[in-house]
């Protein structure tokens, strides 16, 4: 199951029958009362699908977690409209969900446009590549080059990658990115503080980073310690 397939996850609930994607759309359009939707059933459907696979797709899991978390947040807001919940701004949660869907939908529509365009032009054939009796072009001649450019190119390849970009707030980062990063940190520093590593990241990114951390813990690659609830999480190699 890929992350895109998460949206196509088939649901058979009491209040709704169809793909997950449609469920989200109907909820956001207020054509379906979230109060009537059993979110646990959605989770069960996903876990069942996941169980069919030998190796779970982390990106799909992450995608699902983010969407379901947003759904739950909306549902809580609906059930307890007057409750004060710190940090959780319903506007943000809903906006985040809608933004992600909206952007993806646009590009899916663009893909459909391209596909149609291709079909419309199916009866127009043209040559790709040189004509059979075309003159053979002279091999490209290269003027003298500076050797220093070669060293520059290697330095560019050896340069430390930039910190993860922050300008895609609300977009979904692949879990693998954090897996790689944490593994490298463990290899180099032996110990790091999770909270410090995700400081300044968007909430979605922090959630995905945490998922990556849990996965490393599950795989026995990291030992976690937290002196007190809500205190910073200290990560160190499991063997150390």
């Amino acid at each position: 199951m890929s992350a895109a397939a998460v949206r196509d996850l088939d649901l058979d609930l009491e209040a709704f029958e169809g793909p997950f994607d449609l469920l989200l759309t109907l909820v956001l359009r207020e054509e379906l009362e979230l109060v009537d939707v059993d979110v646990a059933e959605v989770v069960v459907a996903f876990v069942e699908r996941l169980a069919e696979r030998a190796d779970p797709d982390l990106d799909a899991c992450g995608e699902f977690l983010v969407l379901v978390a947003a759904l739950l947040e909306l549902k809580v807001r609906e059930l307890f409209p007057d409750a004060e919940v710190e940090e959780l701004d319903p506007e943000d949660a809903a906006e985040e969900l809608a933004e992600r869907l909206a952007v993806y939908r646009r590009f899916r529509a663009a893909a459909a446009w391209l596909e149609q365009r291709l079909a419309d032009r199916g009866d127009r054939w043209f040559r790709v590549g040189p004509a059979p009796l075309a003159p053979t072009p002279a091999p490209p001649r290269l003027p003298p080059q500076e050797p220093a450019r070669l060293a520059e190119a290697i330095r560019r390849l050896a340069a430390e990658p930039p910190a993860p970009s922050l300008h895609h707030l609300g977009a979904f980062p692949p879990v693998s990115r954090f897996l790689e990063r944490f593994r490298t940190l463990l290899g180099r520093r032996h110990r790091f503080v999770f909270d410090r590593e995700v400081e300044g990241l968007a909430r979605v990114e922090q959630a995905v980073a945490f998922l990556a951390l849990l996965e490393l813990r599950h795989a026995g690659e990291v030992a976690l310690s937290q002196p007190a609830p809500f205190a910073p999480i200290v990560c160190s190699p499991a063997s150390a």
């Binding site: 895109a4 906006e95 809608a98 590009f107 391209l114 043209f126 790709v128 930039p162 692949p174 990115r177």
Partner: protein
């Protein structure tokens, strides 16, 4: 395939013959400026000659059709010959583009130059194999790195424009016109959030 009364040899006609010669051997659409440089003529005169050729090489009238595509001029087969072309040729560039490939292509076409991680973030799936396939087909190409140490970025190619029959990048429909329901959806949502937040 036209019979003719006699061979006309005025200068524009002569230029038109040179242009058709260039177009029949070229491996890609040729911009007017390039045609002018190769023939050592003013662009304006090249355009006059091209207009002449457009009248001659058009559907119904000729098996060879002149079209303006991908920022230049190129010959293609008349639609009448599509069935024969299908029997004889293969279409390795556009055949069997998967949904994943089309979505990735759309992201690169609209946002390019764009890197693999950026594409993955929009589609919610790793874009590696889709990108590799598109590069192999020649629809997408590398466009350098944004920052020294950043990931390689990608852009669509002239072949992409040719295959999809676009005269240039501006030929794509505006992204705002696509997936219109999303806006409606968001407005609705903001409305809801506003009421709840109040």
């Amino acid at each position: 395939m036209q019979p003719s009364l006699r061979v006309i040899d005025n200068p524009v006609d002569r230029l038109a013959r040179t242009l058709e010669a260039l177009l029949v051997v070229a491996g890609r659409p040729l911009p007017t400026a390039e045609l002018a440089a190769a023939t050592d003529e003013e662009e304006e005169r090249v355009e006059t000659a091209l207009a002449l050729l457009l009248g001659r090489y058009r559907e119904e009238r000729s098996g060879i059709v002149l079209e303006q595509v991908a920022g230049g001029w190129a010959f293609r087969a008349a639609r009448q010959a599509a069935t024969a072309c299908e029997r004889l040729f293969d279409r390795p560039v556009a055949r069997g583009l998967s949904q994943a490939a089309l979505e990735t292509l759309a992201v690169v076409a609209y946002l390019g130059p764009v890197s693999r991680p950026e594409i993955a973030r929009i589609r919610g799936v790793a874009a590696d194999s889709a990108i590799a396939g598109l590069v192999e087909r020649g629809l997408v190409a590398e466009a350098g790195r944004e920052e020294a140490a950043g990931p390689v970025r990608y852009r669509t190619t002239a072949l992409f424009e040719r295959v999809f029959g676009l005269t240039g990048p501006g030929d794509l429909p505006s992204l705002d016109d696509l997936g219109g329901e999303a806006d409606e959806l968001r407005a609705r949502l903001e409305d809801v959030a506003g009421r709840r937040g109040a």
